[in-house]
Symmetry: C2
C-alpha cells in the first residue's frame, strides 16, 4: 500500500474539497491509503468513514497569505502542513499532497523533508498546457537564482524520469529556453548548458527553444534558470489573463459579438480554465528526499484528487528512487 | 521640413505597401518630405508624383531572410536600406523608416549611423498592447546580454522622453520586470537597478512589476536586461498565438461554439491582429545618433504610414536631442 499524507486544511476551499478529493481518490485508486491531517471535527463533516482513510488531528492551520513562511513552519509544529510533512520525513508516509500556502510548503519541504543527497538545486516544475493537449514540464520556476549547468542537468534528468514514468512520455525531449534557436545564442550559462546537454546520454536534447512556440514547443520539457522560467510562467499567465479581457471587451463592443459571446460562453469558460493560473500552478518539487506535491490553492475536489493520483504515480513508479540511484552513481563516479 | 529616408524595398509587401504608406503620410502630415530609396521602376508603378516625394534609385535589396546581416550591410552599398541609412548618417535626412530584415537594419544602424556619444547600450523598444488600450514600452528586447544598472538607467530615461514627447504620456512611470513585487526580489542586477531607480530624479519609478500583469501593468515603461525582455516579448507572442489556436479548437468542438465562431469572426480577427507578432514587432532603436524606426516586416500601407508618423514625431519633438543633452550633462558631471 502507498501511504499518502494529506494536508486537509490547506487551500481556498479546505477542508471540504480536500476531503471530497481524498474520497474520490480512495474510490478510484486501489493501492493507496490516505492520512488526513487537520481539524478532526471539520474534516468529519465531509468524510464518509473508510478503512483506507485515517484522520490525524492537527490544531493549527497555516493561512494562505502567511507572510513569514519559514517562521510559521518552525513555530507551528501542530499545523496540518507541518504534521503531514513530518509524517513523510520520518517514513510513516510515502508522499504529501497540499494545496496550502506555496511559500510555506516550499520552505517546509526544505526544512522538514530536506534535499536528496547530491541533488544540488531543488526545482519547482509545473506542467503547462499546450495547443495539442500534451503536457509540457516547465522548470525551474522556483526562483533558484544561482545555478550552474550541472545543476540544470540534474533537474532536466529528474524531469525526464518524471515525464517518462508519470506522464507516460516514451522518450522525453528536453529543450533549453533561449532567445534564438541557433547554437551559441543566449548568455554564457545558456551556451554552457547547450554544450553539456548536447553531450549527455541521459536524455534527448532538442536544442534551443524560443518562447514564440511556448504553447506548442518541439519538446516535452522546457528548462531555464529559476529567474527566467519564473518570468516565462508569469508572462504566460499574464498574457492569458490579459487576452481573455481583451477578447471579452472586443466581443462586447458589437451586437454580433455579444451574441457570439453568449453562444460561446461555455467554451470561453473552458478556455479560461485551461489557461488559468490555477491550472498552471500545480507542481512537483524535484530533488527532495520524498515527493511533495503542491496542488493548486484554488483546488476543487477533482483537482485535489489529481494531485493525489500524481503522488501515487510518483511513488508507484519509483521516480525519486530512480533519480537517487543516478545521483549516487554520478557522485561515486566523481570519486573514482 | 522634416526629411525622412524611406527604405522602399524592405518588407514582405514591398515596394507597393511602402509607397502607398508614404503617399498616405504626405497626405496627412504637412511638415515632412520623403525620400524613397529603391528600384525606381518598381516604385513608380505605385507612386503618384508629388513635390514632397523624391525617389533615389537603389539597385540592390537586402532579402528579408538575410543570413549574414553584417556582411550584407558592408557588401551592398547600393542596397536600398544601406543608401537610406547613409543619407541619415551624412545629414541629408533626419530619420529612416524601414520594414526590411530586422537583424540587417540593427547591424546597419550600428555600423552606419552609430551610437549616441556616451549612450552605453542601444536598446530596442517595441510598444506592446494593453487591456485598457494604452501603449506600454517594453525594453530592451535587443538582446544586450552584458548590461549594468547605469546602462538601464539611460535606456529607461530615453523611454520616458519618448513616452512623453511621442506617446504623449504626461508623467511616464518605469517598472522593473521581476519575479516578485517586493524590494529585494530578483538577481543582483535587479536589486541594484531597483536601488538606482529609487534614487533617480529622471523619472518616476513604479517598483518591481511581475509579468502576471504584463498586459495591464501599473506603469508605462517595462524594463529588463536584453535577455529577459526578449524572452518576455517572445512569451507574449507565443502565448497569444497558442491561445488563439486553443480557442479556435475549443469553439470548433461544439455546434454552439461553431455558430459563435462564425458570429465572432470579425472580432476574433481584430483580436488576433491586436495581439499578433507583427503588431508587437514595430520598434524604435534607442541610443543611436539619429532615429531608426523598424516598421513591421508584414507592414501594409497603414502600418508603414504609422512608422513614418512616428519618425516625424520623434524629429519634431527633438526626442534624440533631449536625451543627448542629458547624456552630455551627465558625462560633464562625471568630470567635475
Amino acid at each position: 500500500m502507498i501511504k499518502i499524507a494529506i494536508d486537509a486544511m490547506g487551500g481556498d476551499y479546505a477542508p471540504k474539497e480536500q476531503v471530497l478529493g481524498a474520497m474520490e481518490a480512495i474510490d478510484k485508486i486501489d493501492d493507496i491509503q490516505l492520512i488526513l491531517y487537520g481539524k478532526e471535527e471539520e474534516i468529519n463533516k465531509y468524510l464518509k468513514p473508510n478503512s483506507r482513510i485515517k484522520v490525524v488531528n492537527a490544531n493549527h492551520v497555516i493561512p494562505m497569505d502567511e507572510k513569514n513562511p519559514i517562521g510559521a513552519i518552525r513555530r507551528h509544529k501542530d499545523a496540518s502542513m507541518v504534521m503531514a510533512l513530518d509524517s513523510v520525513s520520518n517514513g510513516e508516509n510515502d508522499a504529501i499532497v497540499s494545496s496550502g500556502a506555496t511559500q510555506a510548503l516550499i520552505a517546509g519541504a526544505h526544512i522538514v523533508i530536506r534535499r536528496m543527497k547530491g541533488f544540488k538545486r531543488t526545482a519547482i516544475a509545473p506542467v503547462i498546457p499546450t495547443v495539442d493537449n500534451r503536457s509540457v514540464i516547465l522548470l525551474d520556476t522556483g526562483a533558484n537564482l544561482q545555478i550552474r549547468p550541472e545543476h540544470m542537468l540534474q533537474q532536466a534528468y529528474f524531469a525526464t524520469i518524471y515525464a517518462n514514468k508519470v506522464l507516460e512520455i516514451k522518450n522525453p525531449r528536453v529543450g533549453l529556453i533561449n532567445i534564438g534557436t541557433e547554437k551559441g545564442k543566449g548568455r554564457e550559462l545558456d551556451q554552457e548548458v547547450y554544450e553539456l546537454f548536447l553531450k549527455t546520454d541521459l536524455f534527448e536534447f532538442s536544442g534551443n527553444i524560443e518562447p514564440k512556440t511556448i504553447l506548442e514547443p518541439d519538446c516535452d520539457i522546457l528548462i531555464s534558470d529559476g529567474f527566467t522560467a519564473n518570468i516565462v510562467m508569469k508572462t504566460i499567465e499574464g498574457t492569458a489573463k490579459g487576452m481573455g479581457k481583451i477578447l471579452k471587451n472586443s466581443l462586447m463592443s458589437s451586437f454580433s459579438g455579444k451574441l457570439a459571446g453568449l453562444l460561446a460562453k461555455k467554451n470561453l469558460i473552458k478556455f479560461k480554465k485551461q489557461m488559468s493560473a490555477e491550472e498552471i500552478g500545480g507542481a512537483v518539487i524535484y530533488g527532495l528526499q520524498k515527493p511533495v506535491i503542491k496542488a493548486q490553492g484554488a483546488s476543487k475536489a477533482y483537482g485535489f484528487y489529481n494531485g493525489i493520483r500524481q503522488a501515487a504515480n510518483i511513488v508507484r513508479n519509483q521516480v525519486f528512487e530512480t533519480v537517487e540511484e543516478y545521483i549516487k552513481s554520478e557522485s561515486s563516479g566523481e570519486n573514482e
